[in-house]
């Protein structure tokens, strides 16, 4: 599963609630990923630009291990989304209702790539700044895209948000 959203929306917090291991962070060099996908064989001039990637994992049963990848969503990291979503069961875009714009790049990418996704509004201190219908309109997501409120610090709540995405993925898996 991919956990996406702007800086400070609660991605690392959410991954930590579900993961069996302490959340690990790695640096993904974005220019390298771009180069690899663009078929360029030389080293790009700026190889040190990186974006943080969190991950955690949880055993689902004795054969399946689910990985959670958390990353900030930014337009210019579009190529990285492609790497992350290949093989993903679905994506949860976390938004803060006071800063909805930050969720837009991720929503836009998942919509265009056909990745099943849902949007989770992290209810910082229980406050929702807009109605759900307004949020749906502002993010321009369709009626069948799951839109839930949750608390990134609460394990059950995070799992429920993931389940909403997975049920949607299942409906789309044919």
């Amino acid at each position: 599963m991919v956990i996406a959203g702007g800086f400070g929306v609660g991605k690392t917090t959410a991954v930590a609630q579900v993961s069996e291991i302490p959340v690990l962070t790695t640096e993904a060099p974005i220019t390298e990923l771009a180069a690899a996908l663009d078929n360029v064989d030389e080293v790009p001039a700026k190889t040190t630009t990186t974006v943080a990637l969190d991950f955690g994992c949880v055993a689902i049963d004795d054969e399946i291990k689910m990985y959670l990848f958390g990353t900030p969503g930014q337009d210019r990291f579009g190529f990285m989304w492609r790497d992350l979503t290949e093989g993903a069961l679905g994506a949860l875009v976390i938004v803060d209702s006071r800063r909805l714009d930050d969720g837009y790049p991720a929503v836009d990418y998942f919509e265009r790539s056909g990745t099943p996704f849902g949007v989770g509004i992290n209810l910082f201190d229980g406050v929702l700044s807009h109605d759900l219908a307004d949020v749906r309109w502002a993010l321009a997501i369709s009626e069948d895209t799951p839109l839930v409120t949750f608390d990134a610090r609460d394990r059950r709540s995070v799992i429920d948000a993931l389940l909403a995405v997975l049920r949607h993925s299942l409906g789309r898996s044919g």
């Binding site: 962070t25 060099p29 180069a35 689910m66 299942l170 044919g174």
Partner: protein, 128 residues
């Protein structure tokens, strides 16, 4: 860093990734010698040949073969070794091409996706 973790969880202290230009480790290459870069969730494990040849490997290759004495994802290897994910993807693909690592691409065959999602839903509901 500490503000990034919810209370009651062990803190993950992550030293900064080496400032050395990362592609020095791959000889300047941004793609593996023989294969496409691996999916970051692909599972890898050292082969007996990898273990046998460990003394002849470069430091980074040796670290990877040593760490992979059990199935582990490419992303976890990057994190444990504090290497850039992109560099690890290339090094791992090279090692696999040399027969020193097994690779199991975590991706699901199309037809099985629905059944797997159902299992994940059941499993997550059970640990909720």
């Amino acid at each position: 860093m500490s503000t990034d973790q919810p209370p009651g969880r062990e803190e993950t202290v992550q030293p900064p990734v080496s400032g050395v230009r990362p592609y020095v480790l791959t000889g300047g290459r941004v793609r593996p010698l023989h294969a496409a870069p691996l999916n970051i969730a692909a599972q890898i494990r050292s082969t007996p040949q990898g273990v046998a040849e460990i003394g002849r490997l470069t430091y980074e290759h040796r670290d990877i073969v040593e760490l992979c004495d059990h199935w582990i994802s490419v992303a976890e290897v990057a994190s444990h070794l504090r290497l850039h994910l992109g560099v690890v993807r290339i090094l791992v693909a090279d090692l696999a091409a040399l027969g020193l690592l097994y690779v199991h691409d975590g991706n699901l065959a199309g037809g099985r996706q629905g059944a797997v999602i159902e299992r994940v839903i059941r499993g997550l509901t059970a640990i909720r």
